[in-house]
């Protein structure tokens, strides 16, 4: 590892970080816009052109507020929890490949992924499970019964859905035969998307991803009518902003992982037939990836304003009695089909 490699890695990290931060800000805007449209309203349109600067106004408002730590709270963990949440949310994106072609930078071939780890999927699963700690610890350290209930719910929910998430991923691994995300994407050339090869696994993975990111219909950890604010009831100012950021960054991560695993990542069908120069191919591949992720983000928000929240027992029923058997059956059927075809 030379200095130039480190610089290249740092540039990639910085670019990714900046892009995700801006996307998070604009996601808050699109969320409000989409909710408004679905309710026949117009939505924010005052700050900036068509209200595009609204999230920045919100952020400034949040940062100027007083940072309150309850006297009975555990100060250290109270501060640590949002850091865990945000760290986990951002670091997952490190293994997601943006484009297949390499570009030349400082005389080196640079892959369009921050870290091409050979166990990429395990890294993603491991980090998303880490996210539970952020929520649980914040709920516990606040010393507030509503926060604690929210934290407990989130840990129960995430652990239940992690199982079906992992099992659906096993289907993909069996089809592609690798844990490396770049190889998984490379395997889905043309229309051989895993969504088509693994329709059941796709559905279970998407549902589990909704539960993992605490989005409606599985947003029980922060169910306002029952739990005041859920795990972040006792948070304000910058720490609250971090939780907010983490929630939306998680959404981006989940969308990116779904796109990578099931929608062919950066793959554009029939692109190789055109024999374009590699610079254009890179741009097109990045564009394809961005479009896929943007569509999934839209679906996340669209579902939020369509489906009402599950009751807690229904959530557990769905996770353990429906999702888990289906994901298991999917693994078995995939194995049998692979065995028959080979």
């Amino acid at each position: 590892m030379e200095l130039i490699d480190i610089i290249i890695a740092l540039i990639k990290i910085l670019v990714m970080f900046a892009v995700v931060l801006v996307t998070v800000a604009e996601l808050v805007y699109t969320e409000r816009k989409i909710s408004a449209w679905i309710q026949n309203r117009i939505g924010p349109n005052r700050v900036g052109w068509k209200g595009l600067l609204q999230p920045y106004a919100d952020v400034i408002k949040l940062l100027l507020k007083e940072d309150i730590v309850p006297t009975a709270a555990n100060r250290f963990i109270h501060t640590l929890a949002p850091i865990i949440s945000i760290g986990v949310a951002f670091s997952t994106l490190a293994v997601v490949p943006i484009a297949g072609e390499t570009i030349m930078m400082f005389g080196r071939e640079v892959q369009m992924v921050i870290a091409d780890v050979n166990i990429g999927i395990l890294y993603v699963l491991a980090l998303t499970s880490m996210g539970v700690y952020g929520l649980t610890l914040s709920g516990w350290s606040s010393n507030n019964k509503y926060s604690l209930l929210g934290g407990l719910r989130s840990s129960a929910q995430m652990i239940s859905y992690e199982l079906s998430m992992g099992l659906s991923v096993i289907g993909v691994i069996m089809v592609t035969g690798t844990l490396q995300l770049t190889d998984i994407v490379a395997h889905q050339s043309g229309w051989m998307w895993n969504m088509i090869l693994q329709p059941v696994g796709f559905v279970t993975f998407v549902v589990a991803a909704f539960a993992e990111t605490n989005r409606t219909p599985f947003d029980l950890p922060e169910a306002e009518p029952e739990l005041v604010g859920g795990y972040h009831t006792e948070y304000s100012s910058f720490k609250f902003a971090l939780f907010f950021l983490a929630e939306y960054a998680n959404m981006i991560t989940a969308s990116a992982v779904i796109a990578t695993l099931y929608l062919g990542g950066w793959q554009v069908p029939y692109l190789e037939l055109l024999e374009l120069p590699s610079a254009i191919v890179v741009v097109l591949q990045i564009l394809a990836f961005v479009v896929k992720v943007a569509f999934l983000l839209f679906v996340f928000q669209w579902v939020r304003w369509t489906v009402p929240r599950f009751r807690y027992d229904q959530l557990m029923d769905l996770g353990w009695k429906v999702m888990l058997p289906i994901a298991l059956a999917n693994v078995v059927v995939t194995g049998i089909v692979i065995l028959l075809l080979s």
């Binding site: 408004a36 679905i38 309203r41 117009i42 669209w302 579902v303 489906v307």
Partner: protein
């Protein structure tokens, strides 16, 4: 006592799958997204109230530049919020009396419309004005200069009163 019994609704196989039903719901919300928006962009696009609307009370100014009010003080008397103050004076006009001072405290006014109802001369009516914003207390006390409004501007309300009272 009559009791209601409900048949337990059993879901069909397709409904039990949930996914088609959720897709149906998503189709509905998507259609809603494309519909006409109901929002009124308020400061640019003002709402024009109907004639029955009770906004800020004002004094009617006749075309000859004299107010209709004869300073009988009934409005001040009937006002439940004690928002109106009238001081009468004599005039050479046919009506003999006129209000030397007529003040309505818009912070006290509750827009009940009693003053309008009690007025024998149709001299005080509820205008369609609903934008009453003050930064200081003194601004909220409207004197004759602010209250006098030409009868022409209040025609819908005056016609409404004649038709329905």
């Amino acid at each position: 006592m009559a009791t209601k019994t409900h048949e337990k609704y059993t879901l069909t196989f397709w409904e039990k799958l949930y996914i088609p039903e959720i897709l149906k719901g998503m189709k509905l919300t998507f259609e809603q997204m494309l519909k006409k928006k109901e929002t009124r962009l308020y400061p640019e696009e003002k709402w024009i109230p109907p004639a029955s609307y009770r906004g800020a009370p004002v004094l009617v100014l006749e075309e000859n530049g004299v107010e209709r009010c004869v300073a009988c003080g009934l409005c001040s008397r009937v006002c439940p919020a004690l928002a109106i103050e009238v001081q009468a004076a004599e005039t050479a006009d046919e009506k003999e009396r006129y209000p030397e001072l007529f003040e309505i405290n818009m912070l006290r006014c509750i827009f009940c419309g009693f003053c309008e109802e009690v007025c024998p001369e149709e001299a005080i009516v509820m205008s369609p004005t609903y934008e009453l914003v003050f930064t200081e207390y003194d601004q909220a006390v409207f004197g004759k200069d602010k209250l006098l409004t030409p009868a022409e501007d209040l025609r819908p309300r005056l016609e409404f009163l004649r038709a329905h009272r």
